[in-house]
């Protein structure tokens, strides 16, 4: 269960990705569950992934499945239609393999691509109707944010203190 689904918590605002990484690591060391932490970033975060170890995205699996399905569809579609009505053209054999390869390739790429995108949608929970309270418009602009989901005030307090300690620019609780 990723944090975005839950309301309520504390949000710390940061200036750089390094600060964010530091913050996240400290939080986790202090025993905050990884699932309760959400980072908001205006830029792609390949480094962050390494900084705060997170599992590799399963999207690649989707790509694989899609690709394979494509290959298979290509093969069956061409071969099957060849035999559905064996019309002879150009003195060639009814079924011609080089042709199937081309169609297979195209469909591999097509389905592969579609599945990949589907993957992104599914795993990163989009399309979403609205942004979550933890989010702030400036997170798409110039600032980074770390949102810690908290169930009760004590937890909130702890999060605040940690965020403060790692030098958040601003800390506010979100309901």
């Amino acid at each position: 269960m990723s944090a975005e689904l839950m309301e309520g918590g504390v949000r710390g605002v940061f200036l750089t990705l390094d600060d964010v990484a530091a913050a996240v690591n400290t939080l986790e060391n202090e025993g905050v569950a990884a699932d309760d932490i959400t980072v908001y970033s205006p830029i792609p975060t390949p480094h962050l992934e390494d900084a705060i170890d997170r599992p590799v995205s399963p999207v690649r699996l989707m790509t694989l499945i899609g690709g394979l399905m494509g290959t298979l569809t290509g093969l069956t579609l061409t071969l099957w239609t060849f035999f559905a009505w064996g019309l002879q053209v150009g003195g060639k054999s009814i079924a011609s393999l080089p042709v199937t390869v081309i169609i297979m390739f195209e469909l591999t790429v097509l389905l592969g691509g579609l599945f990949t995108l589907a993957g992104v949608f599914i795993f990163s929970r989009i399309p979403a109707m609205s942004t979550k309270p933890g989010y702030h418009p400036r997170f798409s602009n110039d600032l980074f944010g770390v949102f810690v989901h908290t169930d009760d005030d004590s937890a909130a307090q702890r999060a605040r203190s940690i965020l403060d300690r790692v030098g958040a620019e601003a800390i506010e609780s979100v309901a």
Partner: protein, 462 residues
Amino acid sequence: MSESTSTVNRRASGLAQATVFRRVNDDVLATLQRPGVGWAALMAVVLTVLGIAIAAWMYQIKTGLGVAGYVPPVMWGVYITDFVFWVGIAHSGTLISAILFLFRAQFRTAVYRVSETMTVFAVMTAGLFPLIHLGRVWYFYYLIPYPNERLLWPNFRSPLLWDFFAISTYFTISSLFLYLGLIPDIAAARDRAQPKSFRHRLYSVLSLGWQGTDSQWRHYNRAYLFMAGLATPLVLSVHSVVSWDFAMAIVPGWHSTIFAPYFVAGAIFSGVAMVITLVVPLRKAFHLEDYIEEYHLNNLAKLLLLTSLIVFYAYLVEFFIAWYSGSEFEKAIFWDRLTGRYAWACWIMYICNCIIPMSLWSKRIRTSWFWMFVVSIFVNIGMWFERFSIIIQSLAREFMPYQWDYYTASWVEWSITAGSFAWFFMWFLLFVKFLPSMAIAELKELLPPKLRRQQEELEVAS
């Protein structure tokens, strides 16, 4: 003490970065301000031309393909020329964005959004021509493999069907790739737009509620990587398939194994040229001088020069093979290409594609916005005529001397050709006004030199 200073420094640099980030958002999203008179005027022109073209097409459908200039044995004319031309344009887009992404080429960031959109719109344009050139377009669905009451399927042996698959795949993938890249930037646009305003609603929908959380970025980065991975072979394959429309035929002048690489190179060549043609005015119009700089231009120019050389080489090889093959028909075709009734088209192509680009050896020209614009225009023209002379000249003097003849395009073909440009620019104009034409997030990730310098200055200042 020291520790505190270091924190101070880090904070300073952080603040500096934030300022620059803000600036990026401001500058890029500024392009989305409400359209000015110039934009409207352009749009008006474009729509008029498009209107004429649509009328012409309707007339052609009603009356019959005879209103085009076809003169047997030239059964393919300007329409297919346009088709190949636009598919070619469509190429460098994905090349720049996908391949250069995989190669981690930095200069890509500033221009890849433009080239990707160019790709998508160019494919949208190219895709129309196979329909326009059909004798009975109202039966185009015979090409689609779907279970039907005739129990009859399309013929997968036909290069035209490969085309059908290649082009539609290419269109889907490049659109998705473009859109994927757009999502975070649309989110940025959303967050800036007036709440409850039309644009806000529009962007909210388009951004799919993107928030840039760590997990979103995680999947996003993966997906982007794989999309790039898929797109790269696709780019190369699509124009190869297009080239097979010709190479698979026995027509002398078409039937050649070099066509696939030759066409791909040509496609990238024309594509890069078109990118330049688009970027130069865009940069001026939207004051993006700080983002698109000489070194971008220089790199593009180098790419142009390289591909020009490859294309040049391909031309020479064609002649060599024609001579080496010993086939009378091949020899005759290429001799005629140089000296025959269509020689003018052939020479235009040599001058525009081989001679003029040689000027790019000079850095002065490579880094001159004006000259690069001029050169790119010439290359576009040259590449159009390359397709023209390959397709039409080869057909005009095929195997049977009895049938030799001379084709000239009719007003219908010319207006539809003009219309195709209108169609392309219509979409492009819409795009620059409604979607960020540079990749905000990635610009921030890898700041262009100018802004990096600015950031450093800011740090020092504090």
